[in-house]
């Protein structure tokens, strides 16, 4: 009896994961080999769906664009997140203040994703607050077109959404760094940047790894942000899949989903290889 007890304890979660995660994924893999016409799915084993994914230059561009979004968002959220975490962990000394500022970081999550994104429109639009202010101040003659419905606005929305996912894990690793290590570094003659590069950064690696996984995985799978913030002018793999589902092209969507999943898993594997996050778990 007691031998089975751990298995029994793990069973509910295993069951939920199997039913609602593994089974659907298996289903997607199966469907990705189906054939289809305008009206129905045709159970079959064909490779045409994958051939379309890899043969079409548009698909390639979409994948590259998605990677580009992920890469740029990662870069900006890392740069912002690291310094925010640094400020919270090392500059703010008072615990109450630290908590208050930390809660402030979560403000973007106090409303729904959709409302948050729609709120950018009157701010960034051609006749929006930003352009009107800049023109009113005489800084620009023409409204800045790139502010809304562009790659800029997509990245902006991503950064707005996901910086917190970078801040939290990095902050956690930073709080665990023994403050005497910083003193020891200073004692050995390290300046600010040397301490940062040789002591803080290496010790934050697990947090950076976890934050990076969050951000990259979330951006790679996104479709709503890209659609709304690019005004339909940019595409991401997620958006492409969503469109294919809208056109009832389930097998094509499934093939794309499988390729995207494989790509994300490879990215995560690469990050895990570069950074050992086990210390954080």
């Amino acid at each position: 009896m007691s031998r089975w007890f751990p298995w029994l304890q793990a069973a509910p979660l295993a069951l939920v994961l199997a039913t609602f995660l593994l089974l659907p994924i298996a289903l997607i893999v199966v469907v990705s080999f189906y054939d289809y016409d305008s009206f129905s799915l045709i159970p079959d084993f064909v490779l045409t769906n994958y051939q379309e994914v890899f043969a079409s230059p548009v698909t390639w561009q979409t994948y590259l664009k998605t990677l580009w979004f992920a890469g740029l968002t990662w870069l900006v959220t890392f740069a912002l997140g690291f310094w925010l975490a640094y400020y919270l962990a090392f500059v703010v000394q008072d615990a109450t203040w630290r908590t208050v500022l930390f809660i402030l970081c979560t403000v973007p999550f106090w409303t729904s994703n959709l409302i948050r994104m729609i709120a950018w429109v009157p701010f960034l639009g051609r006749n929006g607050i930003m352009n009107n202010t800049l023109m009113g101040a005489g800084l620009i003659e023409q409204p800045l077109e790139f502010l809304l419905f562009s790659d800029f606005s997509v990245i902006l929305a991503f950064v707005h959404l996901y910086t917190l996912f970078m801040v939290v894990p990095i902050f956690n690793t930073m709080m665990r760094i023994d403050r005497r290590l910083l003193e020891a570094a200073r004692d050995a003659g390290a300046g600010f940047w040397q301490t940062l590069w040789c002591v803080i950064l290496p010790l934050c690696k697990p947090g950076i790894g976890i934050g990076s996984i969050f951000v990259v995985v979330l951006v790679m799978g996104d479709f709503a942000t890209v659609r709304l913030m690019s005004g339909g002018q940019s595409a991401s793999v997620g958006l492409m899949i969503s469109n294919q589902i809208g056109l009832m092209q389930y097998p094509a969507a499934a093939a794309n989903a499988v390729v995207l999943l494989a790509m994300v898993l490879l990215l995560v594997a690469a990050m895990l290889r570069a950074i050992d996050i086990r210390k954080e778990l």
Binding site: R180, L181, E183, A185, R186, D187, A188, G189
Partner: protein, 334 residues
Amino acid sequence: MRPDVELIGVTKRYGHGPAAVDGISLSIPAASYCCLLGPSGCGKTSTLRMIAGHETVSEGDILLSGRNVTLLPPAARGTAMMFQSYALFPHLTALENIAFGLRMRGVGKAERLAQAAGFLKLVQLEKMADRLPAQLSGGQQQRVALARALITRPKVLLLDEPLSALDPFLRTQMREELKRLQRELGITFIHVTHGQEEAMALSDIAVVMDHGRIAQAAHPREIFEKPASAFVARFIGGHNVLDLPGGRFAVRTDRTRLTPVPEGGASDGASLAGQVTTVEYQGAAVRVVVRAGDGQTAEALLPDGLFHAAPVAPGEAATLGWAAQDAHPLSQTA
């Protein structure tokens, strides 16, 4: 000899409370082993950290080799510090930890690792070069920390309770090693400790601190033989502090003997009559505690032979006596 380290009216205040270090002045001769000694909260660690440059000085000046370093950053002072819990970088190997100071000074990789290997040898850890701190024992971590502090060739090495985390056997061994290193390198060591035994064994100059002030700074022999105050006598141990008819005196417990009860109960001031409360066997010696009629307690540390020749038991009446010249007068106030 020109002093290596000089403190002039150094004060440290945290917030508005009483000063943690209260206007202390001290000069430590070159190439000497100095121990800062005192109960916790006496300001010894603050003093060390101010010398290291990890704590700002509220008032006063710190001079190293005649140079005022009060406002200089740690690395510009020519000091190096060994931290209490070693503060080794957990992501670097023993060798890289030791080479850290050179790396910060821009020494090339091959050069700094070669030098670090030399220092690793100095602390007898050649075989542990590639281990991470977590893979080293406490004593080994300590040696790495020591080598890391020494590699920048400081003129003054500052040690914050370096032996407190070690077990008693290792502590004695490490103590010898510290002293040997200090002699061989010919630099000044300033060592913070709350153990008087450690301070006695190591110091050329021991500084007993109390409430942010220096209670006495001298060679340990002078401190032990002529404690400046009742506080020093009690803290350094091995003394009875007694209020006798002639004033307050410190009498060493090892110079105190059990004497026959004087005829007629007359006391010449060099004895204390009372009842034995404790007899403690310590191997080479036996500790006998006597409580006098007026509530004072005193103890005698008797060589075992002497005790066993005329043993006493708790509850028996006994008189402690000492030679008049062994009673060291103390000021009444302290």
